[in-house]
Symmetry: C2
Subunit: 234 residues, 2 copies
């Protein structure tokens, strides 16, 4: 792996409190690699041999069943993914695919588990990370069970605007069909839902979204911190 990638990984919550020797040892058994867009990194059901850390680019986690597919998460750098499967040493529940050219660090799950046994600080960090991931998934399940497609979209737009620096205009970070799948609807429905939201405080310009009436949009989204904001900080 490249030395210039280390600081970013080191500053992840996962590794921030780990001792330098352990961190260096983990990095020594890992390797980073660059992948082209649209590449399948692994498939659901595969053995969880590596913790993945996205250094650059973007990755989508999706699930398949009976010929249908659903995007479960969109990963942005720098962050790890599929930690839970590595910890429990069980098969992945989701498949991963690069969306853009991506640089990914592959950290052998066996080494990770060994390091955790050695360093309590690492166990604590993994614990906190997993608690956060669990809560994110609870939010997503609430979102799916309680809101309609249009409400999910409105909430996502607000959240996205918030993440991108609270600007009232931003560019969609993924193709619309991927967003549609993530929000649990078809591309056609997304298209119509976006059109419908034009009366509720947004305007579109290609892949750019302009929020013209935050209050109104927030009202139709039914924005709720217990669904929409992730556990920030800590």
């Amino acid at each position: 792996m490249r030395d210039e990638e280390k600081p970013a990984i080191r500053s992840l919550p996962l590794f921030h409190e780990v001792s330098t020797p352990t961190f260096e040892a983990l990095m020594a058994t890992s390797y980073s690699q660059s992948f082209p867009p649209q590449l399948d990194l692994f498939r659901q059901g595969d053995r969880a041999d590596f913790l993945h850390i996205l250094i650059e680019g973007s990755v989508e986690l999706h699930a398949d069943w009976n010929g249908r597919e659903a995007v479960m998460a969109m990963v942005r750098p720098v962050s790890s993914f599929i930690l839970a499967a590595c910890i429990r040493d069980v098969p992945y529940l989701m498949s991963a695919r690069t969306l853009e050219r991506s640089r990914i660090l592959l950290l052998p799950a066996v080494d990770l588990r060994a390091a955790i046994r050695r360093e309590p600080e690492l166990a604590g960090a993994v614990m906190t990370e997993l608690a956060g991931s669990y809560r994110d998934m609870v939010r997503q399940a609430k979102n799916m069970k309680l809101r309609t497609a249009r409400e999910r979209l409105a909430a996502w737009l607000l959240d996205q605007a918030h993440r991108q620096g609270a600007a009232n205009s931003f560019v969609l970070p993924v193709e619309k069909r991927h967003l549609a799948s993530y929000l649990g609807m078809t591309p056609e429905s997304l298209s119509r839902a976006l059109a419908g939201l034009k009366a509720q405080g947004i305007a579109m310009d290609g892949a750019r979204v302009i929020i013209t009436d935050r209050e109104r949009l927030s009202a139709t989204a039914g924005y709720d911190p217990l669904i929409d904001s992730s556990d920030e900080g800590l």
Copy 2:
């Protein structure tokens, strides 16, 4: 708390590897209490002051939004719930309500966090537990995004039969309206879905379900280990 309750709690994966002094200290600051049916234990948004451990009875975790409600999980003894919120010291994302008269151990979250800092074994156990909970929630999200209401019901029936000792007949452990909410549908839809499944390998007798054709039911459910079976053992 009662001494006769300790062994069951001790044998939970969470506490099995913990040193006896730490375990006893945790039990000393906890107290168990009996609650009547239909009682709200806490509400989403409340501060997570206690790890809850259900000793006896049954509890339902649900989420509320905009006047709608969805059952997120059904807890059966002996198991802990809302661990993640306690670990991160953030508000609950779900509300809890007893379904039957229930005995619950309340373990102060501050003490739990302190014990984790002291005992690496406990951190490891919490980590494994959270990884499992995360994966359960991923399964639930997949279930919601990929399957129709009828498919979810068929899969749930199979899973339930499996849990209750692979018998081909069992009694619903909760009222149908709760089950409906858990499966993300209305009571009316559940009623119709059950009626519809009579042609697909089940028969009903009040709250008793008889699986008459496991193969057929499994086919309409699209049974999939990556959605339906929990991480068992380990």
